[in-house]
Symmetry: C2
Subunit: 362 residues, 2 copies
């Protein structure tokens, strides 16, 4: 925000006066995005594009620092490989390697290994792993077995791609989201991919989450952030599994230290509604929200996230034009089209979210 | 040998009189092959073809029982996958899935996963793993991690292919062949594939081999065998790593229990020379033999294997027409062309080896 192109006020005084513990710094702000998988990945692309336009470094990149704190609740071990769907979605999108037509995995993908695994009777036949994707899984699993933390592994994987974005797992602990359906319990991916959320979940549980600590990188990014944005990801199984979310029917615990860190952050926090015209933008957010007893509408989700002034998450909230602008005590509202129709439009949405954050603290 | 097509005498009395602990049995004999990788695989194909011709079951298969005891000294863990080159060579050849033009791996293979691994900096860039092959490695490694023995894993893998042959690892222990070159020591595959045997090895060592026990299947197959054939595999790093081999310069220890079981076997043991016209049939047997101080000629190899009557391995020895028929005390010799020019020719070689075994005990 010290760059000449900034029109809004500074987000924090410490930024302007240079009172940072890290010494002299770049001119762009430090932006953190909380993200799930594909939806968060697309939003992050827009944020990166916005930062490149607003704080260009003259070489096609930006002097701003973008960090993405990513959900790891979908992660699991399969056939000796650690699979991290949301981290991979963000990495592949930022790398320009995502299959945007299919909506998941790598572009130009093949599935020869998966076919062999199925022929031998190994793995989950309903969970197809692409060959290129398996290369990533093998690298990740190798480094995890060598004793690296997930954060260190993600940094190594991303080093190949030059993302100009720091990708950070919410925690280095293996905190997997499980789903209770009647008397049975299964991994989230089994319920999501194999059963496609049918029958609905009675509860989401996160064994070990209460004792898990945020990754060091997540804590550092939150503490140093000038602006924190909450992507329009699934509020329950992408955002809620990181920060916790309670409804009248049930709750996901999230990682307590991450919620605490966000509450203590100096940066304003602005979220984007994942619901447009009363319908979830993607995925099956409505089914997940129903498990918690939260209605699938923008206002209900914002209330569940809560106002920071009341111990919750949000300073500001972006909702679509098609949704009612219900007044929410302590949460500033901005209404605009929220569909990611193009990278330019997503960057414009990110710009508005950023400007709102400036305004909150201005 | 109880079938009407058998012209030779019975191999063992117990066979004819039915004094087997396993009760009524098939009419074909029980044949065991000791094998390394590709060379042993090709020989095994010939043995299976011979048995199908000589003891047909009327449905394209044989009433004989063929077991292959296979070297595991080349095995290793790479990027979280247990690789078993010799077992796979035999399995793929018997399954009709081997890439016979390239000489290793699966036919119609691709290498997309390997390229990704290399891009991330994981694995051995000089050791390319095919995509189909990786499917096998992932299945194997999954089952090993679940606690299955290697023997059980091999049985599961082979179940997919209908080999009509029992493939048995020499041991379920992880006994890997390592190579001493000057002051350094490396895995056999690194010396073999990356360095291509140059510089030559000062010694082959097998950590843990002295304490390793043969797989239960190997012991059972040897005890029940009517005929045991030693494939023309590398005498040092394929056969020697199973049964031990000593030369004036150094020795490979092998698995003591396997050598003992072979010495105690009632079945005759006939080997095939891996050297034709003074040159190794394939691979770099001469370099390996030099490490032990054994000359790369048929007579020297037979002497190193030793006569059973003198506590060694062999009752009979097949050598090529181009090699000198040096008389070897206690070892019967048969001279014939030994090149595997076609499946029919390899079957004819197998038939001669089998006939020689009958003659030894006739």
């Amino acid at each position: 925000m010290t760059g000449p192109r900034v029109t809004g006020p500074s987000v924090t005084d410490r930024h302007v006066t240079g009172q940072r513990e890290t010494g002299p710094r770049e001119t762009g702000p430090r932006v953190v995005v909380l993200s799930g998988g594909v939806g968060g990945a697309k939003f992050t692309l827009g944020v990166r594009e916005f930062l490149r336009q607003r704080w260009p470094d003259g070489e096609g990149e930006t002097t701003a620092e973008l960090s993405v704190i990513c959900n790891v609740g979908d992660d699991f071990w399969l056939a000796g490989m650690r699979i991290t769907p949301d981290l991979d979605s963000v990495m592949y999108h930022l790398a320009g390697e995502a299959d945007t037509e299919r909506g998941w995995g790598r572009k130009d993908e093949s599935e020869r290994v998966s076919a062999e695994m199925t022929a031998y009777g190994v793995g989950w036949p309903w969970f197809t792993l692409g060959d290129l994707d398996i290369g990533t899984h093998i690298a990740r699993s190798t480094w995890l077995r060598e004793g690296l933390t997930l954060s260190e592994v993600v940094t190594r994987l991303c080093a190949r791609w030059q993302l100009s974005t720091k990708l950070i797992p919410a925690t280095d602990a293996e905190v997997e989201t499980r789903v209770r359906v009647g008397a049975t319990e299964m991994h989230f991916e089994e319920w999501w991919v194999r059963l496609r959320g049918n029958p609905g979940a009675d509860a989401f549980v996160q064994p070990g989450a209460a004792e898990a600590v945020p990754s060091p990188g997540a804590l550092a990014a939150i503490a140093a952030a000038d602006v924190i944005l909450v992507a329009p990801s699934n509020p329950v199984v992408s955002i809620g599994t990181m920060i916790g979310l309670s409804g009248p029917a049930s709750a996901v615990p999230g990682i307590p230290g991450l919620r605490d860190a966000l509450r203590a952050a100096e940066a304003p926090i602005v979220g984007l509604s994942p619901v447009i015209a009363g319908k979830p933008l993607r995925g099956m957010a409505d089914i997940c929200l129903a498990t918690l007893g939260i209605e699938a509408d923008s206002a209900a989700i914002a209330r569940a996230y809560g106002a920071r002034s009341a111990g919750g998450l949000l300073d500001g909230w972006l909702i679509d034009e098609a949704d009612a602008a219900v007044e929410l005590p302590g949460i500033r509202l901005l209404q605009r089209p929220l569909l990611f129709t193009s990278l330019a439009e997503t960057a414009a949405i990110a710009a508005d979210a950023f400007e709102m954050a400036l305004a909150v603290r201005g």
